[in-house]
Symmetry: C2
Subunit: 173 residues, 2 copies
Amino acid sequence: MGFWKSLFSNSDAAASQTIDPERETVVKTGDRAGDSRIFFSTEREIDLYELEELCDAVGWSRRPLRKVKKALQHSFLVVSMWEVRGSSNRLVGFARATSDHAFNATIWDVVVHPDFQNKGLGKALMKYTIKKLRSEDISNITLFADPQVVDFYRRLGFILDPEGIKGMFWYPD
Amino acid sequence: MGFWKSLFSNSDAAASQTIDPERETVVKTGDRAGDSRIFFSTEREIDLYELEELCDAVGWSRRPLRKVKKALQHSFLVVSMWEVRGSSNRLVGFARATSDHAFNATIWDVVVHPDFQNKGLGKALMKYTIKKLRSEDISNITLFADPQVVDFYRRLGFILDPEGIKGMFWYPD
């Protein structure tokens, strides 16, 4: 999958030059089959079928893969989260952001596989995403949150309707 | 300024092939000095000092021109609105949008010069912007509205917090 970055491994010297280790976000996903590690990647050449499978798992409507591919190509940032167990990698989380590369970014399509929820991995995914956007000097990070995840984002430092600013969506008349 | 499009002139055959005339949005800005016409452009090579002057006129904080230039380059759509009076063009409105070129667009930096407000030109600017985004097959058009313009956007068909989806902004801890 190209360019891997480890949030968790101290021995990964190359990664630690670009990303500060965030040991507070380490979540062991060990079970009877043994421990696994979680990695993040900003490689945007993701297997679209694997991504579709992840989105299916959380019940999202299917989208044309041609358009998903275009959206990934034109996102400013694509973050994927992988479980590595032995020699096998499994896509377990995803997020992406559009941006003007200068002031604003908007985060879309945040997803964590149900088997990997409630382990702190959504938080780790978002922290990684925010860190990457901040490292590109983006100061205004925004998103549109479904009601059930507003508190999740609030705990990460997102403010709801700051100074009365309201999220709005356009639909045809 | 390169590639002009007229919303109002029936004689502009080239323009009418790409944009349907929207005569309902025509606003005469005539005064004692004579009638003027309003044009829209998607040309992104805008004089940054002229744009700064427009933003100054509505009291926005100044931003580094280097970053403004980068933001314009990396916006999916840049719309400028011009008053044409004789041989002189004046920048009187502006909007831009970031996008993944597939599903979502987010509109930023909507501004109309105070001398040109309350004439329907903000509505015309937004209708033009929406039309351009729709013509690129973008179905999810979003924005973050200051409290005093929520009703303005609502009248254009924008929905506040649809299905409880909330706009959120991230700030450092």
